[in-house]
Symmetry: D2
Subunit: 363 residues, 4 copies
Amino acid sequence: MSSEFGKILKVSVFGQSHGTAIGVVMDGLPAGEEIDQSELQRFLDRRRPGKNSLSTARNEGDVPEFLSGLENGKTCGAPLCAVIRNSDQHSKDYDGLADKPRPGHADYTAWVKWKGHADMRGGGHFSGRLTAPLCIAGGIAKQILSRRGVYVGAHLRSAGNIWDEPFSEHLTAELFEEIATKPFPVLNDQYGEFMQGVIEKAKRDLDSVGGIVECAAIGLPAGLGDPMFAGVENRLAAALFGIPAVKGVEFGDGFGAARTRGSKNNDRFAMEGGKIVATTNHAGGILGGITTGMPIILRAAFKPTPSIGKPQKTVSLSAMENTELQIHGRHDPCIAHRAVPVVEAVTATVLLDLLLEGNHGTF
Amino acid sequence: MSSEFGKILKVSVFGQSHGTAIGVVMDGLPAGEEIDQSELQRFLDRRRPGKNSLSTARNEGDVPEFLSGLENGKTCGAPLCAVIRNSDQHSKDYDGLADKPRPGHADYTAWVKWKGHADMRGGGHFSGRLTAPLCIAGGIAKQILSRRGVYVGAHLRSAGNIWDEPFSEHLTAELFEEIATKPFPVLNDQYGEFMQGVIEKAKRDLDSVGGIVECAAIGLPAGLGDPMFAGVENRLAAALFGIPAVKGVEFGDGFGAARTRGSKNNDRFAMEGGKIVATTNHAGGILGGITTGMPIILRAAFKPTPSIGKPQKTVSLSAMENTELQIHGRHDPCIAHRAVPVVEAVTATVLLDLLLEGNHGTF
Amino acid sequence: MSSEFGKILKVSVFGQSHGTAIGVVMDGLPAGEEIDQSELQRFLDRRRPGKNSLSTARNEGDVPEFLSGLENGKTCGAPLCAVIRNSDQHSKDYDGLADKPRPGHADYTAWVKWKGHADMRGGGHFSGRLTAPLCIAGGIAKQILSRRGVYVGAHLRSAGNIWDEPFSEHLTAELFEEIATKPFPVLNDQYGEFMQGVIEKAKRDLDSVGGIVECAAIGLPAGLGDPMFAGVENRLAAALFGIPAVKGVEFGDGFGAARTRGSKNNDRFAMEGGKIVATTNHAGGILGGITTGMPIILRAAFKPTPSIGKPQKTVSLSAMENTELQIHGRHDPCIAHRAVPVVEAVTATVLLDLLLEGNHGTF
Amino acid sequence: MSSEFGKILKVSVFGQSHGTAIGVVMDGLPAGEEIDQSELQRFLDRRRPGKNSLSTARNEGDVPEFLSGLENGKTCGAPLCAVIRNSDQHSKDYDGLADKPRPGHADYTAWVKWKGHADMRGGGHFSGRLTAPLCIAGGIAKQILSRRGVYVGAHLRSAGNIWDEPFSEHLTAELFEEIATKPFPVLNDQYGEFMQGVIEKAKRDLDSVGGIVECAAIGLPAGLGDPMFAGVENRLAAALFGIPAVKGVEFGDGFGAARTRGSKNNDRFAMEGGKIVATTNHAGGILGGITTGMPIILRAAFKPTPSIGKPQKTVSLSAMENTELQIHGRHDPCIAHRAVPVVEAVTATVLLDLLLEGNHGTF
């Protein structure tokens, strides 16, 4: 078991980069939910390559076909399966890679694990291409959540050493929508320009650069999640590390909290309009693994794209000797900006699962 | 379900800070493993409070009683249950807290979740006290792992803004043992002095400070873990966020990788003594969720202890109005240094689970 | 992982027959539920040995101690752990058994699985003694269910070839209570007399006899359970086969349905008091894995107690040669009548889990 | 979550009877396993309708398309997805059924669960059609098992009140193959003739009849499975109750064991060729949830097909009043004989999962 997460809502992803199709099964969706397919397509298009000069030229279309789970455009309770055919495979671009594991990729570990039987064309099941079915799941989850007043949004917090502003404490569905429609998903477009410069420079250098995605969710009730190992942080982290290239996940002030003092990090409680609120949100909306009712704030760190044009030292698996590898073909010099909707998608799917589970604290 | 993790080896933690007892059930331990109880006790003593002036005075002893799972000092295949009685409860120190949720604690979320029925004495089930049974599990896992040549060690990487050196790439069981026997668990004792100064200063200010624990594991074979959502990172993160106060988890260069370039972050492969190795370890021993055979490197960020002596604004749950709270009693001005063996414990338990599962890639 | 079941409410059982203690962890109980300990004790006493001449003389008391999960006699949301100390161990009665696996027992399979490290005293973790912690869990579940108008009851449907009447379609909490207070748990005491005769005859012959327990639950809403592999039948069966000696489970007319025709087996729907009901209940309250709102009816088949006084052929594990075994000591000539509350317990625990999960069909 | 089972090998089924496609995802298959597609097709054809006058005329073809998980005809470690398009839908045959729940079907419970949003055409996700993807999974599992010397076979043990001979204790791969190639899957063809007569009589009466499938597996090592709730019986039962119309599952002598005595039911151990064997197999190859090394023997009871031609009383969901329903179209007068490969398929899939997990008793 591997390519699956969720408790009430199970999401199972399948496919290889250059196989017949990629897809997702969502088992446990509530019935009667309309899927607005053009809205879903707009969401999928946000991660699509080929939008600008920063992304790979592969234009996949990525129009999902629904094989099950819908009846007259609405979910019917049965597991929903959606697939995307792989039309544009270019396997030859990857010729010879199978013998020379690409540094930073899963080629070597896949070769060890599956003893030479792994499909290593274009990363196989480890390819960033597998984030397309994750976005189908997340796009559907976002539609269902928004009907309950829960909204999820994200922006690129950094690329290389250039940083966008952080999310403020005043988060709205409108702000999320505004970022979603930008060609480059940042809060402050000036910083976005700088980031694009950094990415383009890396591309010219036949190199790549990493980045951090910041994601927020508003509208969740307090009391979701369970203590210790089934908390909101545990479940979100377990799913977020499933996105290729994620190497770190933090909530609220995260690693920054480790540098500060309790008097600064503790969010004070206060009455506001008859309700208990926290006057700050260093906790990122989660205390003891359970939602406080404040916005969820998280960040996921993406390593630089491992595929770079520069020659790299590696080994030949057949000859078991040192060799060198030069990767040709199209590669994103940065994947973090394309990962913005993917982080939203995974976050939304986990939050829908938590909402479906509800608060079983009492009943 | 909440206080449990694991797939082949399930670890289930129970107890409240001021209840009758705390304990752990380990279901799925291999049979025939001797438990060296004095070695286990030495491990448990590492997280024990009262070791020096930096920790709370509560001296709990923490000698586990084994209720099941052993036969003549060896595991017998049946679930192992070990408990620690709570002898030193001091409930009165916490009088009145139940009505005033402590900022930064789970008091408020527990109150919402369990609608006033939570045991809020001393943090109840959310207390750092619950890390004692985690250390029983981890101490047992460490003994079993070490017989297979797998060693887990950790140090305090930072306290506030003071940083210890990072783990180098030359990690040995001896180094881990050396840190484990130090009164303050750092690599460079000079930095350790500075850290203790920072913690003592926070204590004098009736405040607290956060820190980062860095943990490593050596001796694991390549090929453990599964792609996407059942990778080594996913499982470790899901468990590590179960340690109270953890707000961030990263592997290898983690968030640092987001600031660098692919040419620097990609670990090149090379032949060494007839085997394939990576010449650097920015990946922290994990690519595509699967072990590379290099050391696992991870970091967990701990927020500052929420219990501080300074008066803090909060609300009264009974009166639903603003009020102020001053927490008396003993509190650690920093928990990160006491969390060092806890991070080791959780890491070791997850890695034992992965080893027990083995590599099902082929069979 | 093994000794655990449940989804929202996880129940984990530990202990060996002759170890220090046996016990149970219930993780996921709703908070604020009062546990009436004298009512629980009455329930536990129903499975207690030593009630009459048909049961073993071992008088265990079986008074649970609660280590966690309660606050002022009510559940507090944290995992509940309850243990029973093993005071009356008589290990010598079982001397030598370890080398000669008892036919029909798990001695041999435990020896194979744990390569000689299993605790084989009195059946170890496979002992019927482990049904005591199951009854703690079930007794608590029954109290919580009864507050929601859900009642679970059972009777001995057969012992050897003697059959009690089946449950009629008019099931009430009062009927369940009436059976529960009988010294021998049958509907028709005349048949109960015959059954006891059959059991006593087996005892005089140094032999044993099997039996069938029929269990029912009333008051459940329609719509619980999920299709295919997470249906009510799947979950109940998975848990019921965890009771030692169960070799068959059926729902509604079960194996009898295989002998009949659709025109007879189909339960017709009709309006009754403005509600849809089924006019018969051959389906045992479950269609497509989902509750119909009619009573749940199930049966569990118990094989004859494998411990019999007659000499039996077996092998010596140390000598690897044929030998003979005569089991001394006390053994129940039938366990099915003592299993009646155990089947109730497991059924109630699974149904509480289903109720806690609720109907996520829409939300 | 619902339409999924398995621990190391997860099998997730999707589709509705009259939707676009049905299919299965197998996540956790070992890599490097060749899938012989013509052998798989032969297996799928065994459950295919339209083979003789006893089955529905719908000729579905049922040729699976593999979307992922294969590379050059071998498994590659990534999740395998296979789908079958629904070409022959005949939705009009079912017109009006949606409003009148068919007695014995899941129409009513699906309507309650999904509040009117269920796809009720032809049983939707509850249709026997969903056993086709189960057979894809099982056919693949059987190929992988047979390479390890594990064989699974089944026959129709009864239809109505006519019984085939039981499996003897001498089971071979050749016997299983012989039954598999018969037009009617029984051991004794004479009894098979009688059974077909009973089924044809039911058909003429516009009625249906139930039956029992007996399944066996040979070649498994001793020591697989875990005690209590993760035993071989628990896992097989949990999956087998996922086959539509199964109402009972038993192992070894099952319900028959409840009628006998210990001296008869206990399988004696003996040395045979230097190995420990049981001289009989009343336990069906499982003691304490763990395999003994003897053949696994199980039986699944199928209720009569609920779709019958006779008029039946039911209700109108829209009018909420009593009404009558007459089901037209093609319906199997018995599904038990077509279920023979389905029981094999589910059994094989669970056993492969157990083999992949291996025996973690020691390591």
